[in-house]
């Protein structure tokens, strides 16, 4: 029952975002600010995660390709596909669910408990539209770009660990990258990233916006935002894979 209550409130919250929009100039300024915060602010962590994800996937797949029945260059193909289809969008978004999700929820929660949201409402500003919609839009615009960046870095990371570990040569790795490349795989990753971005930003904002109480509740909202965002990412990962790749 609690789930349905949350789902109903979340749906109402999303509908409320689009009512009574504020001035476009103010809205666009807010969105640019949020894009900088979400996008530029996440470059470091995404770079680190991506390089190591690619590096680890090369080592682990390399260990399993010892039979000699599979050509060496296929390692590049497997690393490419595993990173583009799954690791880059999903792991990046899970990390962003922690970083961006907790940041949004705690910011909104603090604004709620310190009456800053009430101050906006008294001025006649639709606080959800003014505060939340720019965050969702910024997330939907920047997180897919971060995922593309993560794809590139993970493939580079895979090459570095392959060469450094003497697992595969650069030429063989690049040959593998080019074999049977399906452009839709990138579109698939972008569709996933866009969906995950919407889920992370909207779920986190929802939890932050409905915070009542004090510092303890802000912390609780932040935790709930991260947990529910991560769970939603995993569930939608399965749903989108089934819809877009299933037979």
């Amino acid at each position: 029952m609690k789930f349905f209550e949350h789902f109903g409130n979340y749906t109402m919250f999303l509908l409320g975002l689009f009512k009574r929009p504020e001035r476009f100039k103010v809205f666009s300024k807010q969105t640019l600010h949020e894009m900088s915060s979400i996008g530029v602010g996440s470059f470091g962590i995404v770079s680190l995660i991506s390089v190591f994800t690619g590096a680890v996937s090369t080592i682990q797949i390399g260990v399993q390709l010892v039979s000699g029945l599979v050509p060496d260059y296929m390692l590049g193909t497997f690393v490419r596909d595993s990173n583009i289809y799954e690791f880059s969008p999903t792991i990046t978004c899970l990390v962003l669910a922690g970083k961006v999700g907790s940041s949004i929820a705690s910011e909104m929660g603090t604004m709620k408990v310190t009456e800053q949201i009430d101050a906006l409402e008294i001025m006649g500003i639709n606080s959800a539209n003014y505060l939340v919609l720019p965050k969702i839009l910024a997330g939907v615009l920047t997180i897919p770009l971060l995922v593309v960046y993560a794809m590139v870095l993970s493939i580079i990371g895979g090459a570095i660990s392959g060469v450094m570990g003497d697992i595969i040569s650069v030429d063989e790795y690049v040959r593998g990258l080019r074999v049977d490349f399906v452009p839709f795989s990138v579109w698939f990753a972008l569709i996933k990233a866009t969906t995950f971005a919407f889920l992370i930003t909207s779920i986190s904002a929802y939890h932050g916006y409905r915070t009542e109480g004090g510092a303890l509740e802000v912390g609780r909202s932040s935790t709930m935002a991260v947990v529910y965002s991560a769970v939603a990412v995993i569930i939608f990962d399965y749903i989108l894979s089934d819809i877009l790749l299933g037979a």
Binding site: R20, E22, R23, V26, T110, M111, T114, E115, Q116, D118, A119, E121, I122, M123, G124, I125
Partner: protein, 242 residues
């Protein structure tokens, strides 16, 4: 002038405001007093539209705030300034941007005009050289002043102050009181103040409304309070050691 007519508000069946009617006069400091949990803050939130009343009417001049559409309420809200208990300054904005915020949202002022108005409001609350500071860099008293400056930025007709003295030392409390009183008289606005502070009430109060457990127990001028004959009000005053 603001008039409340028979307003009722309850949460989960618990009545918080029970048939309250009251008047708040222009150019006067209208005090709402009562113990914690008596319903003062809920009443103020209903008056500014943060909470919807279950029943009753709230008139701003001739305009019935309760039965207006969101857009119509927005016009009235532009005439309202509010000083929150915790000031509610936007943490991510500088002092200057906090005060400029309503001006940028609701007026077509040029950047220069906005800055002129911000500086005027800051001077009015006796603050200078704080434009670029952030709320976290300010003391409690300075935050209250910036809160007042933001509240008067749009030249409001109505000023609401929720516990303006809470968390302040006695001297700063008096300065904030004086400032609110001066602004009320100078701009001839209707000021509504929620407080427990009886010293403030006796120094600057004009019209007093006493609420007890969601009901209006007494309303009248400050000079009549001691002869009100209302036992609960007199006990409340006595408990406040005044």
């Amino acid at each position: 002038m603001i008039q409340l007519k028979n307003i009722k508000k309850s949460f989960n069946g618990k009545i918080v405001l029970d048939d309250i009617s009251a008047s708040f006069y222009k150019g006067k400091a209208n005090f709402v007093i009562g113990a914690s949990g008596s319903g003062k803050s809920v009443m103020m939130k209903c008056m500014v539209g943060l909470l919807d009343v279950d029943q009753g009417e709230i008139f701003y001049g001739q305009d019935d705030f309760v039965n207006k559409s969101y857009e119509e309420r927005k016009l009235i809200r532009k005439e309202i300034g509010m000083l929150f208990q915790g000031t509610a300054l936007f943490d991510s904005l500088s002092v200057e941007d906090n005060i400029a915020f309503p001006l940028r949202m609701f007026t077509k002022m040029t950047q220069e005009e906005v800055l002129d108005r911000v500086n005027f409001c800051l001077q009015r609350v006796n603050l200078s050289n704080v434009n670029k500071l952030y709320p976290s860099n300010l003391s409690g008293g300075m935050k209250k002043r910036v809160g007042i400056a933001r509240a008067i930025a749009l030249n409001p007709k109505y000023l609401f102050c929720d516990e303006p003295n809470s968390g302040l030392d006695p001297l700063t409390s008096r300065l904030i009181d004086e400032l609110i009183k001066e602004i009320t008289v100078e701009y001839n606005i209707t000021t509504v103040i929620n407080t427990h502070d009886m010293k403030s009430l006796f120094e600057m109060g004009d019209n007093i409304i006493y609420i007890y457990q969601g009901k209006k127990e007494w309303e009248g001028e400050k000079s009549l309070i001691r002869s009100s004959g209302n036992t609960r009000l007199l006990e409340f005053m006595k408990a406040s050691e005044f």
